[in-house]
Amino acid sequence: MDDETLVQRCLSGDTEAFGELVARYEKPLFNAALRLLRDREEARDATQNAFVKAWQNLAQFDRSRRFFSWIYRITLNESLNRATRRKRSEPLDDRLVDHGASPAELAERNQQSALLERAMARLPDAQREVLVLRHWLDLSYDEIAEAIHLPSKTVKSRLFSARVRLAEVLGTMGVQS
């Protein structure tokens, strides 16, 4: 069943249909929040709040757009608000630490993932966002453009800058091509 049909059923009060949308998008949205917040608990709360807000405001959803783009925006705003609140109350060094992972968990993770995670943490939010959308969520340039309300050309140039910056950061961490 496509998203549009599920949204229509949700608007008739069908919570099971909303359950389908949750099942479909909880993983990419949780991962998007996780990459931005770097804290599983905060990412969980941001994702949950985003879905609840989507449910509350479903009547305002413009059905000419993709449902994912719309709920992604809600998740993004929720994550950025949380990140802003946290930045105001935590010293810079704390923000570079992954609060969601203990040393034991980090050791269990794939080494490349941990390394990439640390490098990504040093990128500006805007650059990290396009990388997450492209490489974690596998969105096309056009899909990213719709999700973050930017022209495709701008998305492409931002991705380029982000990849160059990521390469520089990886270089400073001793990673060689």
Partner: protein, 233 residues
């Protein structure tokens, strides 16, 4: 070829979107131009790191259940929100026409009787109430419909309120404060199914948080840390 065009070509090739002729052209440039070779190597490093390290993590197992529990909690029986209209009942579909007609007729009688057909009163005229502060955050903790809801909001200055609401089962709630002082006594408090309780507190340090532990009658428990850093704004 200008540097921007070279960058664009390299990125297109690494994205896998380039034509075979563009790939060949880039390979020739890499072989002959040190700048292109260096640029390509940099970007290839980023692409390789992303290809190997960008992996989706599974969300918490209870996330979807908690989301659905929360929206069902916000949609109590009889609620009428835009996103939560009940499914129509075909057997009584004639009522959808008859009831509004009856309502219009009744309204017309009332207006004519009052003799003031042009008077429109604000809906809130003559009413009193309290406007609660918008919550700074919320979460649900526990499985499915048994999940308890926890909301936190700023009340006044450095004080805050934690609003607890039990799910469909009785639950014992223990709150361990850090950098906050709770006004109610420490220790577990029991909430009956669907019961609510508000706990007031004051921020005393720079990393305010509370660790909330729920324990159900059958011994299951769940713990979450609620960061209250938003209260410092």
């Amino acid at each position: 070829m200008n540097p921007d065009a070279i960058d664009d070509l390299i990125q297109t090739v690494l994205d896998g979107d380039a034509s075979p002729s563009d790939v060949t052209r880039l390979e020739q440039m890499i072989a002959t131009d040190p700048f292109v070779r260096q640029r390509h190597a940099e970007l290839q490093l980023a692409f390789a790191a992303l290809a190997q390290g960008a992996k989706l993590e599974d969300p918490p197992a209870d996330l979807s259940a908690n989301i659905l529990a929360e929206i069902r909690r916000q949609q109590p029986a009889g609620a009428r929100t835009a996103a939560a209209r009940p499914v129509s009942r075909p057997a009584f579909s004639w009522l959808r026409i008859a009831l509004p007609l009856a309502a219009c007729a009744a309204a017309a009688v009332v207006l004519l009787w009052s003799g003031r057909p042009n008077t429109i009163r604000p809906a809130a005229e003559g009413t009193t109430g309290t406007i609660a502060a918008a919550p700074l955050g919320s979460l649900t903790l526990g499985p499915g419909d048994e999940a308890a809801s926890i909301r936190w909001r700023k009340t006044n200055g450095a004080t805050f309120a934690l609003d607890l609401e039990a799910g469909t089962s009785a639950v014992s709630v223990t709150i361990e404060p850090q950098d906050v002082r709770l006004e109610s006594p420490a220790g577990a408090r029991a909430l009956a199914p669907g019961a609510t309780e508000t706990i007031l507190g004051t921020v005393t340090g720079e990393q305010p948080s509370v660790r909330v532990t729920l324990t159900w009658a059958d011994g299951r428990s769940a713990t979450r840390e609620v960061k209250l850093s938003g209260l410092l704004r």
